[in-house]
Symmetry: C2
Subunit: 348 residues, 2 copies
């Protein structure tokens, strides 16, 4: 990631080594007040950049109002009409996303580039499997290579207009295709990459597809900004993105490890682990918490935890730090005591 | 995967190229009837092998009853006591899982190997970050290499007793550590690998951690059998495993792609996509279904779908096949008609 060009979207940098989280508004763009409220909630949930679809003049008017008051940088998503792209830039978008293959004449793409340069905003070249460049598709087929080549061709078109303020993305609903295409892009260019699996499906399936695809890339230090696409509310995309980044130590915060299902456990660990996770989800500093079923394994397996608890049978619980017992508590007070000690840790 | 040794767990092969799904019973082992009912439900949900903890004589008695009637092969999970391992083998377990470092004297491990050989069942050498071999830990630290070396040392101990019917696993709650350790094992041995992230946390966090870790390995053809460890019911682990394998085309079945959040959508796509996914979740043949928000993008992006539907505005919906329009339906009958056509596809 560190070798990538840094692209600025208002005050957010893409490509500086810190992976940013994006989502897209789900309400009609014209519902200005509702969308502004959503943007505040999304920022509080951990989102860095928000995208909004702009398809007609009414939406351009709404976009201007949203951009004026938004607490997050706004990316205007343009499907076909170059006039919408130009109007969105003039309306205050901090970045636009286009697929140049869908815009038509190259002269129209050139006009968009000129306007973006005038307003000093970047363009994301976003190519999806559903909208490949037709010549490239004819040559390489609907493959990962075709997807990557399509995107590179579009970026070269922008470069031919002396425009280099570019973020790239190649998305597919096939995890394998998307991963392979991103790896090709990563090798071929130094523009930062926006990564994600598109049309990933319902929340339950989509989270898994995105975790596999985005995760595999981030494990190899590929990817600078992510969107987890779900058929679910945008805030769910943001929460899932945070969990994903935390799982790879790419985002600070509390993490709760807890035992899987096992008949050795003597208390309602599932509920307790969930409660602890919810109560510590918004902590901004690293804190490794373990919620374990039994003492036998629990303390050993929770060795790396800053603080942990393990059920001990006979209504006893043991609270431990880095593998060493701190104190024993009972089923009457284990929750309060554990939370009190977590808070102490946070205050340290 | 194809280069791995094939290990048989009753009628299930590990290492034959087909990735199998495992989970662990969550009820007390002594609750025989409840566990047998759970095993039936787990099999119906798509589970191939089930593990059960055996820690005392009562549980050995229960294990025997479970093994006699179980519809899935049973793996006995042993923590420390070699007598429990031997008794579990005699009680009919189809495989046992031990961490030789936890068993004590090598002579005890030898007795387990002899008994397993007598009963022709395999042993999984399962090493977790919480129970590394102490010499290896002193030399390599609590690292991925230490984890892999610990496991290899244990496997060599079994080999020294002329025992080679082995499956290996190295688990950690750190995704990166587990992925790295599995890659080392994959290069170093030809025993099949059981892979998973342990103590992965709550359902929501744990699914993501496992999808990243297991997914990254499976993308590189590493891993022969999986368990997604969650602080949730075993059946949730099985459902998540199926979604994960489907996302990498490692399991046949229906897949539903559907649009992410976008203001262009004119109907309640989230609910509809979820309904379609639930209704087709158990289909055993490959069927690629697309549920799209709008016609503009939908048909193009759903090009690879066997059958798809896209909202068209004005209460119209378009049903399409491989990118070509099949028919137009209205908001009054789109659900029934789409389901009818999906059923036709299945019957073909």
């Amino acid at each position: 990631m560190s070798m990538k060009k840094i692209i600025k979207v208002k005050d957010i940098e893409i490509g500086n080594g810190k992976v940013t989280i994006q989502t897209m508004l789900s309400k009609k763009t014209t519902l200005v007040e509702e969308n502004l409220a959503d943007i505040i909630a999304l920022k509080n949930a951990g989102c860095h950049i928000v995208r909004v679809a702009v398809s007609n003049d009414d939406e351009v008017v709404a976009l201007r109002k949203i951009c004026e008051k938004s607490v997050l940088p706004i990316v205007a998503d343009i499907q076909f009409d170059y006039k919408m792209a130009i109007a969105s830039i003039e309306a205050g978008a901090s970045k636009i996303r286009i697929n140049p293959s869908n815009i038509g004449d190259n002269s129209k793409v050139e006009l968009i580039c000129k306007k973006a340069k005038e307003y000093c905003i970047p363009i994301r070249v976003g190519v999806n499997m559903g909208s490949l460049d037709s010549e490239v598709e004819a040559k390489y087929g609907r493959t990962a290579l075709g997807l990557a080549k399509s995107c590179i061709k579009c970026a070269e078109l922008l470069e031919s207009f002396d425009f280099f303020d570019i973020v790239l993305s190649v998305k597919a609903s096939s995890v394998k295709t998307m991963v392979e295409a991103c790896k090709i892009l990563h090798k071929s260019t130094d523009y930062p990459l926006h990564i994600g699996v598109t049309e990933a499906g319902t929340k339950e399936t989509g989270v898994i597809k995105n975790a596999v695809g985005i995760g595999a890339l981030l494990l190899e230090d590929i990817g600078d900004t992510i969107r987890i696409s779900l058929s679910a509310e945008p805030i769910e995309e943001v929460f899932a993105s945070r969990r994903l980044l935390k799982s790879l130590n790419l985002l600070q915060g509390a993490t709760v490890v807890s035992c899987p299902t096992c008949s050795r456990c003597n208390y309602d660990l599932f509920t307790f682990a969930k409660e602890i996770e919810e109560m510590t989800f918004d902590i901004k500093q690293n804190l490794h918490i373990a919620v374990m079923g039994c003492v036998v394994n629990g303390i050993g397996e929770g060795k790396d935890a800053d603080i942990g608890i393990a059920g001990g049978g006979d209504n006893n619980f043991v609270i431990f730090q880095q593998g060493k017992v701190l104190k024993t508590v009972t089923s009457d007070n284990y929750k309060e005591e554990f939370l009190r000690l977590i808070n102490e840790k946070i205050m340290e």
